[in-house]
């Protein structure tokens, strides 16, 4: 998994802010340990979400010739045969992906 170039700056700034907040949690007086764990976990979760948002997932192509693959994370919802008189001038296949 790699991180998209467009996310580098956002991630850097976000991580610095999150790290600062994590450090500042240590200064909250008489904070209950359970609340501290929750707060720290929430901040870590936020950081993971930002990373996740900018990820470039590995998508190995496993399709066979003749198969229809949907774009990005979509799903092929319709494969049908239609008449297309204008350009092709006859029968054509129509694919719809969500």
């Amino acid at each position: 998994m790699t991180i998209h170039r467009a996310g580098h700056k956002v991630i850097l700034v976000f991580m610095l802010v999150l790290a600062l907040l994590q450090a500042l949690i240590s200064w909250i007086p008489s904070l209950h340990i359970a609340i501290e764990i929750f707060l720290r976990a929430a901040l870590v979760g936020l950081g993971v979400l930002v990373l996740w948002f900018f990820r470039i997932p590995k998508r190995p192509y496993t399709g066979q010739p003749g198969e229809v693959t949907a774009v990005s994370d979509g799903k092929v919802v319709l494969v049908e045969e239609v008449d297309e008189p204008e350009v092709i001038g006859g029968k054509a296949s129509r694919f719809v992906s969500s």
Binding site: A19, E36, R40
Partner: protein, 220 residues
């Protein structure tokens, strides 16, 4: 029974408990290992901030406290991320890492106790010796070689390289924590682990070594 041997027994028992807990968490999978690290880190962060409050005014600057907290966070983050460098949970990476760290600690302790002559950093940690450091390095490298032989490479890295990182940066983290405790005027960072002290006393070797090892595993 003398109080000395009782203390040793408590220490050994706690040690076995710590090892069992860490191994169990790693083997149970990411949803045990990561929350485990999170809780340990939170306790460590508390110990760190209470130690920081005891430091003399000059060292008690907020940026120093923040930097120390960030360093601790990076260490635990690295310990967590180490298990996911290949896009899936791989328990061998943290397992091998802890094995290297424990072998380094044990080798350093045993060799240093038997042959230690030349102090490593007398003003920070008087009991550490160069002989102990060398012993730790040799044992860690041997275990690294064994892991490489038995397991193959961790991610895109090499176990012997990780062992070298452990033997250089592990003791550095130790010394850093000793320095912190010395400045704060305390002997242990906490009392949560009977016979061992606090969380920071047990995880100090990871503080510098783990982030560097993670960078190595990602970019190697």
């Amino acid at each position: 029974m003398s109080s000395g041997s009782t203390e040793l027994r408590v220490r050994a028992l706690t040690g076995v408990g710590i090892v069992a807990l860490i191994l169990g968490a790693i083997l149970l999978g990411p949803w045990a290992y990561w929350p485990f690290l999170l809780i340990v880190w939170c306790i460590g962060a508390r110990e760190l901030s209470s130690a920081w409050r005891l430091m003399p005014p000059f060292h008690r600057a907020v940026p120093i406290g923040c930097a120390a907290q960030c360093l601790l966070m990076l260490a635990f983050g690295a310990l967590a991320a180490m298990s996911w460098t290949q896009g899936a949970y791989d328990f061998w990476a943290p397992l091998g890492w802890f094995a290297l760290m424990w072998s380094n600690d044990t080798g350093a302790y045993l060799v240093g106790r038997s042959f230690g002559r030349h102090p490593l950093a007398p003003s920070v940690s008087p009991k550490k010796t160069w002989e102990g450091w060398g012993g730790g390095a040799v044992v860690a490298l041997l275990v690294g070689g064994l892991l490489q032989h038995k397991l193959g490479s961790p991610g895109s890295g090499h176990w012997v390289v990780l062992a070298a990182l452990v033997s250089v940066f592990g003791p550095l983290g130790d010394l850093l924590e000793s320095l912190l405790k010395r400045k704060a005027g305390i002997k242990d960072s906490g009392q949560i682990l009977p016979g061992h002290g606090g969380i920071l006393d047990r995880f100090d070797s990871h503080i510098i070594a783990a982030p560097i090892a993670l960078l190595y595993l990602i970019f190697a």
